[in-house]
Symmetry: C2
Subunit: 456 residues, 2 copies
């Protein structure tokens, strides 16, 4: 009898019937979200009433309270907080960079800059030095004897011929992270970088830098696109003196929280599937795409499954992670707690590439698991998913893989506009389209439904 | 020998070699456009220096001169104009609608409205009447005896559960086109419609209406989203009196031009492949996505093929069509001229769904032709094309199919944001992303290359 059932479960008729049930269920998910979705309204509150939410800020604390209420409203069986200590970097005031002199001629041209996150300020007085422009790290090596006492300007650009902007971001990211210490190694006193963007405006883009303790922690700022072009041309042909004033510093670590909601599983209550994004953002914007979008999509998935009366087999976790941007303490804390309580996670999904039209998911999992996921492509295609490929996940869920070998997935939205606003002042609510945001949630909820139903 | 060659041409090795040559060529196209593309700069001039370009306006005439120069600069073998007469509808001033009375209570609440294109004004004085709200045409039929002397408000909405917004647009479009005459048939004196949008703002959206000559040509305006919601709730429960003032009228037909550029074919100089968009736009915006994007993409395809030294087999035409929005006289003229000169068109491609990330093409052609096109999918996928399906083309190239049976194609961009700005004041340059715009041109140029090389 068991054999007959097993054969039946593999028969085309059974598989077709299953597929029909699933496609109907996913259509219900989609209709519920596109008709009644709350993600856009929630995002308005998170961005407009709370605003930028850097770890340690009062806004982050407000966002925790807001997130707790939002997850309860969405119908969680339980909501709890996970305390973690977070770095407390303060921008400390307005960042400034001004060109004081070009060759022997005095000038006073102000550049639009933002200090890099976690960078140290200029110590209450302007840092004044000559600029040396370098195209990349190789160019820095070539000019290393000329760097001492100077401000190094890194002009490394996005490669516009990459079709996927995250490829370019991967290539340029090292200049923001490692540029300051690479320059300090040769005696530079400050660093300016071209912002990590191809945007056609002059907004500077912040984001974390990472000092190497072996070298002085020199001030570092990012320039917007026009100023970057101007600076590069200028310092190729003239002696340019710049004054930089920044005020970055660390206060003692601050108490923060992950906000965690749960729908308890009916078959495997002690095994978990997690969905999440990060609740913190940079201080200079509203953190609308990064990662307000992932937060409200996470809440939307919960709301929708609950609204449809879905009874999960596994326990589903909806996690608003703390401190992704400049410390990752929330993601580390979540995995640590899960390990301590032996909460085995079979899958974790993150949305942290913006609230744009979804085009697929990227996975870090076994080939066999991916084969299973790929078999669901026809069910997801009507909602915009076109690729289910290896590679991807998210920063916050990464520690789960280290801990449990958890299979990871990341939503892949269309990213052509992402680096226009990423970490810049322009990452605001107005730049998020309601339908694009909701469609991301549709695909996330559908994937969670399939993984919960069929396992991995 | 011929047989051996024929067999060789079908061999996997030959096909693989061809595919490799093609994929390299398309990568060159992509690199050229993403590195050196002029589409975004051209669009800035067209939108910011010329602006809205309704048929008959001075701006349209300026756009013709601009387009002629841009096509020459892009390297056309020849550029010429095709004269056509176009309707000359004038908005005639600011459109207004104000709620004067709710039940017996006087009020003075102004609604943000735009007169529908080609609609007749209120004759120099306000039209004051009570409003009757209807959900759709069926509701109008049910209430037809109550309509006389009233302003009918059509509240028909986009269906948010359609994944593809053009599906919704197809469903709601009849209310803008046919609503005024449908209401006039029962004695209505004016019409208001909910704008054809799901946008989360209050911008009204204009667009052509089409009167039935059998009934009075009554004034008609579109309401933005907030006002539409308000009006619908209000007129369900109260007697609402509204004053409408519009000034729409026609001047005598105006002389206009298609702008046509050519790269002459080396093998089939008397057979044509056309690529185009429409140069005109509505008067209330900059016509950035609709259809400035299609125009600058068309010019970009020409520039790129020329920059790469491509020698087409067929004669390639790059056409900036006149008067798509409220008359289609340019598209009709182009086909008429082609017929008169016996210029057989084997394929025509239009871009008129916005300058967003491309996701594929839709075709109106024989199944066998589509099979051939579909065989190129692997060559286009790296650039974002995911579907090559039946159905599509464009308004301006439609007459070519009637005339020659020309195979048609239309670029399909990701349209989630399109109806936020379509025919609204917000269709401006700032809402076009450079990379999304250029990627559309990449896919268009690649498709034209393949069709020119292999035929259909």
């Amino acid at each position: 009898m068991r054999k007959i059932i097993a054969l039946w479960l593999m028969s085309p008729v059974f598989l077709f019937a299953q597929s029909s049930i699933d496609s109907t269920y996913i259509k219900n998910i989609s209709d519920e979200i596109l008709r009644n979705g709350k993600a856009h309204d929630l995002l308005r509150v998170l961005t407009k009433e709370i605003g930028g939410r850097l770890a340690g800020s009062i806004q982050f604390t407000k966002a925790v309270t807001w997130g707790e209420a939002a997850l309860k409203n969405a119908g969680a069986d339980k909501v709890f907080l996970q305390e973690c200590m977070m770095p407390n970097w303060q921008r400390g005031g307005k960042d400034n960079a001004t060109i004081l002199q070009i060759n022997k001629n005095k000038t006073n041209r102000e550049l639009d800059v933002l200090a890099l996150g976690n960078s140290m300020g200029t110590g209450g007085k302007p840092l004044v030095a000559e600029v040396i422009g370098v195209a990349d790290f190789a160019d820095l090596e070539a000019k290393k004897d000329l760097v001492k006492g100077k401000i190094v300007y890194f002009n490394y650009k996005f490669n516009p011929t990459n079709i996927h902007p995250f490829t370019s971001y991967g290539q340029v990211g090292q200049y923001r992270r490692n540029g300051p210490s690479a320059a300090a190694k040769y005696g530079a006193v400050g660093v300016m970088i071209r912002s990590l963007t191809e945007a056609t405006d002059n907004n500077p883009h912040t984001g974390s830098t990472a000092y190497d303790d072996a070298f002085p922690k020199i001030p570092a700022v990012a320039l917007g696109g026009y100023d970057a072009d101007y600076m590069w041309e200028l310092c190729k042909k003239a002696a340019v003196t710049v004054s930089i004033s920044t005020n970055g510093h660390f206060l003692p670590d601050a108490k923060g929280h992950n906000v965690v909601a749960e729908l308890t599983g009916s078959e495997f209550p002690n095994e978990y599937i997690a969905v999440g994004g990060h609740l913190d953002s940079w201080d200079v914007n509203e953190g609308a795409h990064d990662d307000g979008a992932g937060i409200v999509q996470t809440i939307e998935v919960l709301r929708t499954l609950k609204a449809l009366g879905y009874k999960p087999k596994y326990s589903l976790r909806f996690v608003l992670f703390a401190n992704e941007e400049n410390g990752l303490k929330g993601g580390l804390k979540y995995a640590e707690e899960a390990k301590a309580k032996n909460e085995k996670h079979v899958f974790a999904l993150e949305s942290d590439e913006g609230g744009f039209t979804p085009r697929g998911f990227g996975f870090t999992m076994a080939e066999k698991q991916l084969d299973k996921v790929k078999s669901w492509l026809p069910l997801l295609q009507p909602y915009g998913t076109e690729t289910l490929n290896m590679g991807g996940g998210g920063a916050d869920i990464g520690p789960l893989r280290t801990t449990f070998g958890t299979a990871l997935g990341g939503l892949i939205p269309d990213a052509q506009r992402y680096f226009d606003i990423h970490h810049a002042r322009s990452d605001v609510f107005e730049n998020v389209n309601k339908r694009e945001l909701l469609l991301g949630a549709v695909n996330m909820a559908a994937l969670i439904y399939l993984i919960d139903k069929y396992g991995l």
